[in-house]
Amino acid sequence: MGIINLKFFDPLTKIIFILLFVTGLSEVICRITYHLHYGKNMVYHFDCIIESLLITIYFIKTIRIKNSNFWIFFSIIAWPILGTLNCIFFQPLKSLDSNIIFLENFSIITMSLYALYSILLNENLTFVIRHPHFWFWTCFLILSCGTFFFWAYLVISNYKGKYLNFLQYFQVTVNILVYAVIALVFLYYPKKFMNES
């Protein structure tokens, strides 16, 4: 969907497109490493940092916070450092980097809430349902809220427990819903949406 209307996207929507591309690519690499008996977790360590970085840049730019260049520079430094420290001291490459995922979800929820709050304050933006970034923020918020405790549960239950399968299905359902909404936004981007970044 994104490729069809890529030329109509504003730069910030292109970040979302790159993010989804990176996510898709990491899933493919995960499959490959899984078949090569290296496991998936190693890929998630890198993917998570790149995703967090892209999402942070996206939010810094869409919310238009002051000193945005400083905050982008800060996140470019901070996320890899956090990932490396987590990898060295807490969760090595072979284990799932749930700490970083947890932190990523927490920061996404915070930034989404702030973004939605900024919409509330913006009197000029009244037709929110035709604002593509409103849907992206909503998708991020629902995705992170829906999966926030899933990662906590994984850590607490140590990947065991009789409801683990059910939880995985739940997470997949939330993912499908959210990505379907993003796909629709991409599909109707030039026709239904105003380009108000």
Binding site: I119, I142, C145, Y163
Partner: protein, 267 residues
Amino acid sequence: MNPDSALLIFIIGTLILLLFAFTLVIFLIVHKKKQYHNLLEKQTMQNTYQNQLLQSKLEVQEQSFKYFSEEIHDNIGQLLSIVKMQLYNIKNNSTEPEVVAKVTDCNELLGKAITDPRNISHTLNSGFVSNAGLADAVEKDLEYIRSAKEVKCTLHVTGDEYSLGNEKELLVFRIIQEAIANAVKHALPTAIDIYLDYSPIGLGVSIADNGSGFNTSQENKSGIGLNNMHVRSDLLKGDLQVTSVKDKGTTIKLHIDQAEPVNFSTN
């Protein structure tokens, strides 16, 4: 912690967070919708106010026109008529051929001096448009232009004529007058064609000249005349389009719906 008790925390936590997220998003959409309606209402009020302001401005203008028209007709016209009668008496009582010839010349000039202001007086008077009808009023105005300037003015009327109502016809007449005055003053054309196309859905007016034309991108800067036309067109809820080609001429097109009401008083 027992995985099953952790599951309970997970379910409650997730549900609360999801509920919170959905509530927030729905609240935002509803709030913004309300804000949109308020903004729309505010804009409507502003437009109404603006419209009333324009109406008042044009009403004052029409009152001034009416006053000038009456002054020209009643004072200047009467005085000149008296002077003409006196000259006629002088001519009749005089035996000297030289005096008679000069008085006859004066009488002719005076006749023109009486006719021209009378024409102006008629075209300024809003009552004239309502009495004569739009097409006749335009024809009368063109007669005056023909006599005063060397411009070939032609009126083309198509369709079955009907009355748009006094207010509407006066506004259309003023737009045509403004367009002609602009053309004569700035474009120096040799011909002006006015088309009145009466159709069941509305009236189409076109004023085309073969003058010097102008740059329509600088239309807004070009003065009060065009602006007044747009104001009147807005009052008529009409569609006014100005097209101009340098050294080829200008065409002003106006379309108004017959059914569209207009609230503009000239009394």
